[in-house]
Symmetry: C4
Subunit: 233 residues, 4 copies
Amino acid sequence: MDLENLRESVYRANLELKESGLVLFTFGNVSGVDRERAVLVIKPSGVPYEELSPDTMVCVSLESGKVIDSELNPSSDTPTHLELYRTFPRCGGIVHTHSEYATACAQARMPVRCMGTTHADYFFGDIPVTREMSSAETTADYEQNTGLVITETFKNLNPEEIPAVLVANHGPFVWGPTPGQAVHHAVIVEYLAKMELYTRQLNPDAPRPPQHLIEKHYLRKHGDNAYYGQRNV
Amino acid sequence: MDLENLRESVYRANLELKESGLVLFTFGNVSGVDRERAVLVIKPSGVPYEELSPDTMVCVSLESGKVIDSELNPSSDTPTHLELYRTFPRCGGIVHTHSEYATACAQARMPVRCMGTTHADYFFGDIPVTREMSSAETTADYEQNTGLVITETFKNLNPEEIPAVLVANHGPFVWGPTPGQAVHHAVIVEYLAKMELYTRQLNPDAPRPPQHLIEKHYLRKHGDNAYYGQRNV
Amino acid sequence: MDLENLRESVYRANLELKESGLVLFTFGNVSGVDRERAVLVIKPSGVPYEELSPDTMVCVSLESGKVIDSELNPSSDTPTHLELYRTFPRCGGIVHTHSEYATACAQARMPVRCMGTTHADYFFGDIPVTREMSSAETTADYEQNTGLVITETFKNLNPEEIPAVLVANHGPFVWGPTPGQAVHHAVIVEYLAKMELYTRQLNPDAPRPPQHLIEKHYLRKHGDNAYYGQRNV
Amino acid sequence: MDLENLRESVYRANLELKESGLVLFTFGNVSGVDRERAVLVIKPSGVPYEELSPDTMVCVSLESGKVIDSELNPSSDTPTHLELYRTFPRCGGIVHTHSEYATACAQARMPVRCMGTTHADYFFGDIPVTREMSSAETTADYEQNTGLVITETFKNLNPEEIPAVLVANHGPFVWGPTPGQAVHHAVIVEYLAKMELYTRQLNPDAPRPPQHLIEKHYLRKHGDNAYYGQRNV
């Protein structure tokens, strides 16, 4: 994929994010990565979605974090994206939103628990919440430290099996193999967070689903023995 | 009804399901049955609703469960539909969704209680939740066993009077005399599940409506003495 | 107003009800009254809103309750409307819905309390819930008895100051000087019921607003000293 | 800015308010101020949004509170707006709504707490609730006293850092440097009030975010060291 294609695909994923209803005003951003060229491409900071075009997407070096060939500032969350691309080797696209239900979970510091098959079709376990950041972490290099606190949360988790996190008192970061799939996952995260709230309201003591049900559904759609969709035709 | 008509009606019911707002992405599926030919017709697995056409609907033998004359995989939930058609003799169409409120009830393992006339106009009693499936039931023939756990739930219930169920930690299966009416019922189930949540939030100890009120409303619309609508004109 | 005008205004109020989002499928109905001719005009029973026209509106005698000059059945709730027109002399239009939040209040048997100025701008006190109907009241003349249990609820209330009620385990009946204003009030009732739920969730022990605030807002918009709007220009 | 421009900008802000979904029917109003000419311009009272035009916006003297050159009544809340413009010297536009979640917070007498970065991006602390007004304050000069109870609430708060308030049992008043930005803030207030409700439902005991996180986000977007958006390019 050459850089023009990546700009185009990041641009389109940003539009899909807007159309999904997950973002208000200029909230949120989507990025994509080109690992061969060692760059990410991301939405410019604070620009309304209506004014975006593939050309306004900002290219940033994965190594130096510096803007390449653009007059616009990249999203202020760019250092967070950089940290995730560096640590999660198969991550191809990242979305950040302040979507209502997922952000409320982040504010309540409650994970989105895996309470059913809708969740297990996409995420092989709870969507975790990061720990609170320290004053030192917030004062300097805040956005990079946000990335580090996310990767710390995944020390014992597989970011391909659980491609999302809630940053405490902030909101969700969600990823996937491509920018478009990251947006798709962000929509699912919001849907699951909404159902998590309703489930808790209906029955705070509802039992967890058995692990065999979660495995069945996750593996029905992922891995070598998946049989959902048209892949076996 | 010849098979082309059934394909057309199942296709249109799938579109209505999409337009109803009950399904996200490729979630959900609708099927219909032709009992004379002993086949069901169902949505193909994992295909976006926008790409469907009557021709892409998949025909499956009621007896063998095998695909007839199609290159697409049927919905992975097909064995569940098969089991319901086999056991519920007047069921003509089935819908499965992960609609938000009904799925939250399934995750909370709380039935949608019959708390008012809106419910009693359609369902003559609570919409039940299935028991948890065992590891053995999940590991092999999972989708067929989902159907069996549903029919077990209806051992002492009339599936024509209560044409819906919540599969624990999964979501609703809803049926009716035709695919279109099954979709109609699925919309009602979501509406009732939403009001069930609100009712519980307002007053967890609210009394049940008297049985005579439930009977009055159900029988106003169903059976020989129904007087709702234009049927008596 | 001649009868054609009333048919037209009831027809248009039914369309407004549909557009307001308060009703699903064929749920709900609006009627209007012509007190000189002693008739009401109401939506036909079970007909989809898209198929309505002024001509399909059904005319019913206020005295005998019999259909005049129509081949369609009137709404099955017609005897309830009749009873309200007979007892509330200034009521010019009536709406019945199963709108989500107001119906949930009816199911929870919780009045929509007057908790703020939005409420007091329209309703001079709580929107009450009827008592449970007896088996005898439900078995025979159910719809008329629904009207009687409503008027009983207003024995010590002014139906012009509080033009709405929640029928227990059923849903709201709402009225006003005209069919259009009754629909307007039905939209407000749903809005207030929604905020009543949120208010209870945020703070179940929230104090009532002082009576002087309720009076101020109600009388700012109603009665001889009203000063809201353009009436004094 | 001459007066025609102000009328135009207040008119457009009123339309944006309507399009935002925050207001029902004729609820709500937006005003703007011209401090050189010592006038405010505001929506006329009780006129549907569809019938507004720049010419129908009503001009009122900041000093006398009298209408200048208009045949329409200004919004009945005009004396509240006047009081805020007099006391908050940098306030350029004011919005009043009865938006659902913010009004529910006002009815519950619960501030919208600063529980995360979405809030801190716009408001440097909780959005407060006014005290209950006395009978004397309500009986005479009610709307002006509403303004006074708001400014009393801000005795120790900076109205530029927290450009919104919830009037107890009434609803939000929100402001900003221009009428358009006041509407923007009103949309954010409703979004935050919604998340505040969800956060409380998920975890009533959720800890507050650390102060350094709130400062980081507020100062990332406001003041001399702001680095969000394109201002540094």
